[in-house]
């Protein structure tokens, strides 16, 4: 019988079935960051547990790290405390830590792939919901909580229920000005923020076949915003070409043998899925969120929907979103003034994102009164951007060029919205208060759209600008 990648990888990593109905699943790569791990290390100490597979875990710092300085101690004492804690924990338990001194620091979901750690056919876990990013390589990658971080550290395993599998096929050709970000925002809009609960997503179809690895990562990254436990794309030549020569990827003849195994992990034609959804990529427009969850999104040329456009049980959230964001139903999003523009995050902080944004930034100057930040996803991304002269383009246009980290995606570091500022953001969550101010407002969009909004000082239809 034809099998899916999901089934094959699950089976290869299943240690045993547990009485709870869960599977004990071996985790091939465990990534750790400073925010969700200190309590897990503390639990290990309290229970006198060790880390039996320290080489299968890698740590970095991204969430709290300032993006304007490398100076230690950090001004923020709590942030300094978290930084010292991860340094101490990694040293004590023998775990590699990629900090700024290493030259390889970055957002955990940016560095795993770029170092070649993330590979097809693996199981991956990290105490962070956007771990789904790594699925772009044909890995099964789960975001987990702190108790599970402890479980993986202590046993290299997770106790987890196998989700169902939905295949999402996006056919056609994306029009100019429409990016991977628009594809996933559209998918979440159509299937809903709860649509993926209990599911893993397999992304397929012509649009995915043509996507670069970075674009696939952008889509898989936001699987969780659609409620899915994880998302993946089957590995193909694009995947193998990306991995060849990366630091932790297999080298030489080993690489060729690895490719042979990776190819075998892909879903086979005729495999069965619990559900299939089809989307026509040729009809997409740039997408922008207008609400307080990532499913509340429209094409940039559409009008703000009214309460009556939604099913009865969604109306409360829609009203809430209108009030919080300050919309009048029927109004256009184009022309909405912004105060801040943020380009970065594990969704859109990679080199191709910065190139696209720079292409737009080169067309003008950031509007007075708009604060515009570009935060590369990692030190590697920053170096590559520097080699290509991108920081100069951004600076000349009036953007700030920062050091790598999560920054204003969740605003645990000093980069925050103030009051009810409106932010055009290339990140992944528009929840109330997400960007650091309890009344701050977030409009999610592609990095190129963010750059366009920075220049216009307002939400704009990128397609007009590119014309």
């Amino acid at each position: 019988m034809a099998k899916t990648l999901f089934d094959k990888v699950w089976q290869a990593h299943a240690v045993r079935e547990l009485p709870s109905g869960q599977t004990q699943l071996f985790i091939g790569l465990h990534l750790v960051h400073e925010v969700t791990s200190p309590q897990a290390f503390q639990m290990l100490r309290e229970d006198s547990l060790g880390v039996p597979y320290p080489d299968r875990t890698l740590a970095t710092v991204d969430h709290i790290i300032p993006t304007d300085t490398d100076m230690r101690p950090f001004d923020d004492e709590q942030a300094e405390g978290m930084m010292s804690a991860i340094e101490k924990n990694c040293a004590e338990f023998g775990i590699r830590l990629l900090d700024r001194k290493s030259g390889s620091q970055g957002i955990v979901h940016v560095i795993g792939p770029e170092l070649g750690l993330t590979q097809p056919g693996m199981t991956i876990a990290c105490g962070d919901s956007h771990t789904s990013t790594h699925g772009a390589f044909g890995a099964i990658a789960f975001g987990i909580g702190t108790s599970q971080v402890r479980d993986v550290l202590a046993s290299q395993c997770l106790a987890i229920v196998k989700p169902k599998l939905r295949r999402i096929e996006v056919e056609g050709t994306l029009p100019p000005g429409v990016y991977a970000k628009d594809v996933i925002l559209h998918i979440i809009r159509v299937l809903g923020v709860q649509g993926g609960v209990g599911y893993a997503y397999e992304f397929a179809g012509a649009v995915f076949d043509r996507m670069t690895m970075e674009e696939r990562m952008t889509v898989c990254n936001m699987s969780i915003e659609g409620g899915a436990r994880c998302g993946y794309v089957n590995p193909d030549q694009t995947t193998f070409d990306y991995l060849r020569g990366r630091r932790y990827a297999p080298q030489g003849e080993e690489f060729d043998r690895a490719v042979a195994w990776w190819q075998q992990t892909a879903s086979e034609p005729g495999a069965a899925y619990d559900d299939v959804a089809k989307i026509d990529g040729s009809r997409l427009a740039p997408v922008i969120t207008w609400g307080i969850n990532p499913g509340q999104a429209i094409g940039v040329d559409e009008k703000i929907p009214g309460v009556a456009d939604f099913a009865a049980d969604e109306r409360q959230t829609v009203e809430d979103a209108h009030a919080y964001m300050g919309w009048t139903p029927g109004q256009s999003v184009i022309g909405t003034k912004i105060d801040v523009a943020f380009i970065g995050s594990c969704t859109n902080g990679r080199i191709s994102d910065l190139r696209e944004a720079a292409r737009v930034a080169a067309l003008g100057k950031v509007k007075a009164n708009v604060t515009a930040l570009v935060v590369p996803g990692s030190q590697d991304v920053a170096r590559q951007a520097e080699a290509e002269g991108l920081p100069e383009i951004f600076r000349a246009a009036g953007f700030e060029w920062r050091l790598p980290g999560c920054s204003m995606c969740l605003a645990m570091n000093p980069d925050k919205l103030v009051g009810n500022q409106v932010c055009a953001s290339s990140s992944n969550r528009n929840f109330k208060g997400r960007q650091g101010s309890p009344s701050g407002r977030t409009l999610l969009m592609s990095p190129a759209m963010v750059a366009a909004a920075a220049i216009e000082g307002a939400v704009t239809d990128l397609r007009e600008m590119l014309r």
């Binding site: 071996f26 709590q78 909580g145 709860q194 609960v197 690489f255």
Partner: protein
């Protein structure tokens, strides 16, 4: 591995009894339950009073009139929250169930829950059960009408009882068993198969070398 470790006793959670806390609304995300700026700490201590902080407190610290602060719901002791759809979506932060637990919410009843949040609750021995939308609505109304009663969640019988009315709730067999047996903390279970884990690891090409 023959591990000898001092793990706590198995704690069975056959039922939870507490005052009800109605938290209406779909898609209540974990950023709302506990804003990220409160996660800058290396322990979960003190999270209780920060649960739903930005929904409850204005910038000047005054109360906004959130249901958690309504005088008629003010009670001491354990609580059980009743919620709608997709509660706990968003970030994987275990700070969310920790904040709820520390505020006093020891169990959740709702239409549906986000997967990671659900797992995080169970990993802390915090029962989470689902009920039909109509049941949740009936229950919410009964609570809002007359909040000063205890709500009983019976994991074994899969029921919830309020003001003499009993309603059915759903919980997967495996999770029910974990709560009843006290095996909701997975570490001990996972560690008991160290040899099999080694074998699985050794069978994987990327572990043994291609």
């Amino acid at each position: 591995m023959g591990t000898v470790f001092a793990m706590t006793e198995l704690i069975s959670v056959p039922n939870v009894v507490g005052r009800p806390m109605p938290l209406r609304g779909n898609d209540i995300d974990t950023d709302r339950i506990i804003p990220a700026r409160f996660m800058k700490a290396i322990t979960f201590d003190g999270l209780g009073q920060l649960a739903f902080h930005d929904e409850r407190f204005a910038a000047d610290g005054s109360l906004k009139g959130h249901v958690m602060d309504e005088p008629r719901f003010l009670a001491k002791g354990d609580r059980i929250a009743v919620v709608n759809k997709n509660f706990g979506c968003g970030s994987s932060r275990e700070h969310a169930p920790q904040a709820l637990l520390r505020w006093g919410i020891k169990a959740l009843i709702g239409e549906s829950f986000a997967d990671i949040f659900y797992g995080n609750c169970i990993a802390n021995g915090m029962p989470v059960v689902t009920a039909e939308a109509a049941t949740v609505e009936t229950l919410l109304r009964a609570i809002e009408e007359e909040p000063a009663h205890e709500l009983t969640l019976d994991i074994d019988k899969r029921t919830v009882t309020y003001r003499g009315q009993t309603y059915p709730v759903a919980i997967p067999d495996g999770v029910r068993k974990q709560l009843l047996d006290g095996t909701w903390d997975a570490t001990r279970v996972l560690l008991s198969a160290a040899a099999a884990v080694k074998e699985t690891a050794a069978s994987l090409p990327y572990v043994k070398g291609f």
